[in-house]
Symmetry: D3
């Protein structure tokens, strides 16, 4: 049996959905803390993202999904199996940034000497200040940290993705401490255990395949045989496409996988080199 | 930068979803009236559908999506770039119709001489009455217009798609004033500006591709080589399909794109001419 | 016209969604008991699953979807057209089981002589007891049957899929009375009527195609021509795949349909025999 | 300990609220079927209203709240402790009525000879038909009975309070079978047990006090001493009011308890006889 | 029968609740446009607040509740029976104000010559501009007017209560056009009809009594007889209180009705002059 | 101005409701972190209960409401103004308890030597262990602490009110560390400032009055004059009641304030000594 920790809370539904796409159907019951999963070799535990690395390190979990930020904050000694990119809208990692009010005199971390900073990542912040030779008071924030920057403390260290919440709170980014993405981590002993390691690696491959598929699409189009070379030259990203015949002579169908976010730029170019009947279709998994 | 107006309110979520399918991810925040969009060349504004054509005409917006009905009601002088069909269930345009209670003596617009009519489209209604040489009082209705026909006014001009709400309110359609579909419209100056025009055209193509894909599906089937001609003859709609080999000798795979709503009639016919392993798959975009 | 009964209540949304996938769009209105469907040859009625077989038998409905359990409970004389498997998570049929508290002395149905049993399926339970020569009081339970087993009665006959609700209520399964899946049933006269029979058969085929598609996916991969035989040998389930060319010489694309729940086992094996660029895509319908 | 059954389901929240007003605070947890109550002498069970009388009769419950209709339907031999009137809007009991479509030829129960009737109260209906010497088929309806009257059966027996749902479904009432109010019932042995009987009686008094208080209000007014007799004569319902002095000479304050629904008629009359500063205030309990 | 119009939409629930407090219980059904009311002399219609005065003027309604603003906007010739103050939080009337962005150069209405103004109250705004001799374009806004002030128009006329939404949108108030409170209005003919007039007057009295009771509370306290004069002198607002005896000699109970929002200032003063056991209790109605 | 901190999060709505009962109406907007309050002398801040004492100590807040537990956990040096009891159901303070699984061998804190404990109150737990001379690892728990006791740690320190959640999680209480109630605390300097101190004291009095009123009710009854002494003797809790006359000779009305939770015991006793027409009414505030 492999004991697998998934993040409880705001990421829970998204993670369970990704597990389902990877092929592992999980059902959470309000009556039991052990979720059902349709794989007899797996045992799921839902634990706060902040704590997963701690319990993987201690061996209570064989592996788990958590953020790079919390692995660092906890200073956990674990094996990192793989990295995922969850957020679809921004396609950007989460960033822990040092912020002050827009009109604050603070211009760099050096200006925080003797000041007070609120954050959920006390250890990361202390380490960062030490690196810059700054001595300041760091206090744990239980939440709503952004609001505190205006009245209660001199600066905050907070997480952001697009920066829009910071802007709405009229905060200015002074520096970035850490950029973080979700990771699949394993306990060091579990990783040495052959069966567990193989199981973890398979799950990593399937999860990666499911997650990457969210940012990819299939693209298929018809083109006159004679224009194929031009097409491939114009769009080298269409590497190694499938080529099939059409019932109409002299025409072929070309099919490949591309990043969804480039399609809006590709389609005008495809049309320009003579592609017709372009279709885009969704994918469940992409495994290279 | 292109300033793009999208309809706020009941169509908002559907429109944002369609924009996402077209490749433009929008995030609406309760803290700001400017939504985030992952395209640095775009600025999104959410405005009531009734008003978009007015602000496109004045140039506050370069382009926008709104209904043909509101362009006509406002009498806006704008360039119409394209037409979309949003509603999936009925695949029918919205119709503004003149209605009276089922048991009303009113049989045609002529019978409304000297009567009172409630509607949200006062200008359209006045123009319509004038065309028919009828003089009647037209009053603006702030909503719940259907209920008014029974007590407060003699007739209403109301919008309907399937007519089921009219039937539930025991109303009878006397005449149709206007049939309306969503349109992408552009400010006349923006349309003359080369970069803006090209950007608008690309977005029109992608949006059209995304919207049409909702009503289309991919269809793939295996058939004995010898039956191909019969298949194509029986179903001329399967124009120019992709033909691929199968590992089984003498059999081929045939693949094409068709309207989803005909599939329920196609499949029995495909089976009848020997098709096997028929699969239907969803599409994200279809660009001819 | 064909009058078609669909289960009202907890399965209603799932059934309407499946009908939509099959190509029949239904709209339920709070203002009318007759739902709209975009097929002029169909009339939809929403009726409790427990009662559908009764009204199909009497001819008030030409056909309907209900569970095998309720056909048996009602002892309805109807024609069974087809069987579907709705539940995705467990891929298991619903089972009606005889249960007692974990610590009950009851070990088999024989121990229930003279006892009291609560259930929603009184007829099924009485027939089962008679078969085993046991005489016990069977009372109709209006719901929350599981809770009653601990205090109010000696045993219950309840439905379960994964058994997790029984476990949460600390109940032990003593015996299984019936395993049930959804069925499409027809009135015996309607089945003799040629047009109705054909319409029912087409709908059965389309519904089956839509439902099976939920448990199937398309799988496509690239492989060196020389490895194809190894691939097909390793995975005989990939029967009769489509073979297409790739722009890269010596490589081919292989495509087929497989059960979604085996993909998590297939992908490592596919990789092992040299497959690359494996993609999985969703299906709307699968009709063999 | 007294085991007390409360109706689970649609009346559950209203009943728990009434219990709280009576002084007994109940907390229902999703983790346990035994609700918490802040009285060590009570054990609460939530059971469907349809079944409570059965379990009170058998002694699994000492007492419970359920409708007179279900006591009759089950034919339960229990002691009836008291009657309550729950519904506030209509202040009318629930009525089980025989209904047919508005345009049905059925005029009286006699016309149902040989017909089919759907109902949730099969026993009540059979007994009623027998009393009238009518032989008809009575089938159990699992719900949505009103809709069935138009197509599936010839008549229904359904519950109604204001009749508005029947009107909306275009049904006509042919006869009334039973008028029902909530009752507090006790097991016959529990009622003979002194402590249990006293506990049940106290609870009945407190519940009745809380429920009646919902339909009563306190009314207080100032009036010139000389007008008091006129006031009491004009409104004999103001029996035995409290009389207090006012700081202003010759004036007194009069205070009493009245039915809330008569206040709208009282106040104009009170004004007419010279009352001033009339206030109405809410009550938690009224115990005569 | 009296036909009474209540505002549909955002104020609907609040109004129905106030009607209930006044003694008239209304039930709105999704199946009918005629709500149920437990008074056979009343017929309720729910109509948008913007339109009620129009239909009262025309006699389709005998009376109705709407805002003073919409009576003015519509220029309706109706009889005003009474004024109510609905909003509890601010205890302030709704104000229609002319607003511009905080950093706009517009300082007074005079600066709007030749500009464009968006508003829901087009007539009120045009009249206001005319009074100030300003010529500007006024366009009807379908909603979200506040957002338009920054980009789409030069100024807006919008409604506000506490001004907090204007502040959040960074708008500055230039002038106030109208202050509005809810009114009970009657058709001029209905008002001449004796029975209708009396019915309307009674309802006005009961509604006013219910609405005022929301802002009033009962206050009762014990005080030494000798301190009564001091108490009444310190708090003249406690006019004509009820005086009762206490079981303790030399002490009395004093009771009166006061505005709830002054209680927080009264209680310290009451304590200062020797009051004890001060209690505040809620009221349902207050009729002077 | 007085800056007042209220607990953000799960207690927020309850606290704002209590403030309203005390006479201070607060409106929280999603657009601003500064809530509106209808008192120009107050500035409200919503801050997590865990942090309020810290910011009161530092003087960022003049005063605030938080739990005794978090004052202790933070070791904040603040002035305690008053104590409230918020929870209505249990009328019990929150208790932080040391728990282990029901079947754990741990019997007392001594058995935790060298073990691992998870808790949200790390400082309280470390202090407690030190007092008992036990050395154990204490780790911060981000939530769902109860679940951890079974697998991840050896014991937990968790908060409970009725103990029902602990029972549902099959945990056993080993010891109690702290009993906690909500407190109004003030910054030590603010408390020395005359105006602030007086304002804080007034608010404390009003809040206490509002909170205590939730657990109190008014009780009024009629009794024959001759039975009054018996009544007061039987129920000494009815201290110093108001005595008024009734219109019926020889009878009086007696009125007083009592704890709501004793009413269910009082009423039978009141009846026993001859009281009639007993009514209970709700209170908004009670200030002794």
């Amino acid at each position: 049996m492999l004991r697998f920790g998934l993040p409880k809370g705001s990421l829970q539904d998204a993670t369970i959905q990704k597990m389902a796409k990877a092929g592992f159907n999980i059902q959470v019951s309000s009556r039991s803390y052990v979720p059902y999963v349709d794989d007899d070799e797996l045992e799921i535990r839902l634990i706060r993202a902040q704590e997963i690395s701690r319990y993987v390190e201690h061996g209570y979990l064989d592996c788990g999904i958590t953020g790079y930020d919390w692995i660092m904050e906890n200073g956990s000694d674990v094996h990192e199996v793989g990295e995922f990119l969850f957020s679809k809208v921004s396609r950007k990692p989460a960033r822990w940034v040092l912020c002050v009010p827009e009109n604050s005199p603070v211009k760099s971390v050096k200006d925080l000497q003797g000041k007070r900073i609120a954050t959920e990542v006390v250890n990361l912040t202390k380490r960062y200040l030490k690196q810059h030779g700054v001595s300041a008071e760091v206090e744990f924030s239980w939440g709503a940290t952004e609001v505190k920057a205006h009245e209660l403390v001199d600066a905050i260290v907070e997480v952001t993705e697009t920066g829009s919440s910071l802007r709405a709170n009229k905060l200015r980014i002074v520096d970035e401490l850490l950029s973080s993405t979700p990771r699949l981590i394993a306990n060091r002993n579990a990783w040495k255990h052959q069966w567990k390691r193989q199981k973890i690696q398979t799950m990593a491959m399937l999860l990666k395949g499911a997650i990457e598929a969210e940012a990819k699409v299939g693209l298929k189009m018809n083109i006159a045989q004679k224009n194929l070379a031009k097409l491939l030259k114009a769009l080298p990203a269409l590497r190694n496409p499938t080529i099939s015949g059409l019932s109409q002579k002299g025409w072929i169908a070309v099919e490949t996988i591309v990043d969804e976010h480039v399609v809006r730029e590709f389609i005008p170019k495809l049309k320009a080199v003579g592609a017709e009947g372009i279709i885009e279709y969704p994918l469940n998994k992409v495994v290279y």
